[in-house]
Symmetry: C2
Subunit: 197 residues, 2 copies
Amino acid sequence: MARIPVSSARERILDAAADLFDRYGVHAVGMQRIIDEAGCGKNLLYREFSSKDELVVAYLRRAARGWDITLEAARATVATPQRQLVELVRVVGERVPGTRGCPLRNTYAEFPDRDHPAHQVALEHFGAVREQLCELARQTSAPAPERLADRILLIINGLYINASGVGAEESAAIAVQLAQDVVRGETAAKASRSGVS
Amino acid sequence: MARIPVSSARERILDAAADLFDRYGVHAVGMQRIIDEAGCGKNLLYREFSSKDELVVAYLRRAARGWDITLEAARATVATPQRQLVELVRVVGERVPGTRGCPLRNTYAEFPDRDHPAHQVALEHFGAVREQLCELARQTSAPAPERLADRILLIINGLYINASGVGAEESAAIAVQLAQDVVRGETAAKASRSGVS
DNA sequence: ACGCTAGCAGACCGATCGGTCCACCTCTCA
DNA sequence: TGAGAGGTGGACCGATCGGTCTGCTAGCGT
């Protein structure tokens, strides 16, 4: 068998694990299955990741990094912060069909224990996303940027759940439309009846 | 030990299981723990529920029934279908703090296998909810009732995820506000720029 | 050409899983 | 009061879990 550079081993294992976790869930996938899929020995896997928990954390961190990249791409693709918020929803809706939704949110649901590292990584990510959305919203003319950010977050979260069932494409379209309306409504000069706070 | 009427045994076990499933997730809870919590023998449990899967399904069906009751209550509490849609969001937001979110949605995330009965029950419920919301939306003056229903569903789903982390109360307020705005916007005479369909 | 090392394969471990079965106890009713 | 139904507690089963350890093979550098 061809000698593969050591540095790639970690990524190869992580690829296999991510694919299986995404498809079947973390609990449902045993380490042996990951090993089989990655085509490596147990030794190598446990040298790179000292436990399953550590592997799961690495999986989640990579997913979180993926989100950050998505955000950066949205910022680069579209000019105004208003459109960037909508673009984020659009990209999520574009990617979610055919998947089980968001790895972080799914794994979070699988590990309710507050002390579990996977739970903590997910929570940390959710906080970061909210902060990113707030930052974007503050760059708009919205009088209540945090409310705008929370509304977009609500839409994104809803989209992730909605799309994991049937009708992913329709859900995506609905979410993007709603995001457009929300951004337009929130950045309109007049304060909405719902109040500024 | 006092003889407890047999008919209540099933409910007692289901109560214990639901409490544990809600708090720790289905995978994380073993049958022995449910038995300990319910204070019954293994025999009785396996007579009422022939397998863990069956117990999980019963747990989900009861949660789905709970939703139906909530819907009925919202219909009884508030007069117009517009306010009923908002009321639904309000009640969900009111109940979700301190919980891990929606049992059906969480368990759905835990059982991605399409063939698993728990997965099917959850999917069935999601479809029913969407249909209920559509029916409510059709009773409003909204020119695109299905879009209204999908938007409310998006908000409810987003709320369930949002609130399972930190800041449940704030998320609830955000969701209710957004639901109000959405209902108002969708039932306004003029068609939104987003188009009717 | 040969030793060294990295990595695959798999035996093995204790713990725990869902599920079955049996012994004993307790309450009911004749 | 004694037989029997119903239920608890726990031993027990095979399978599988995460994780460790030991060969053995294949490729490299000298």
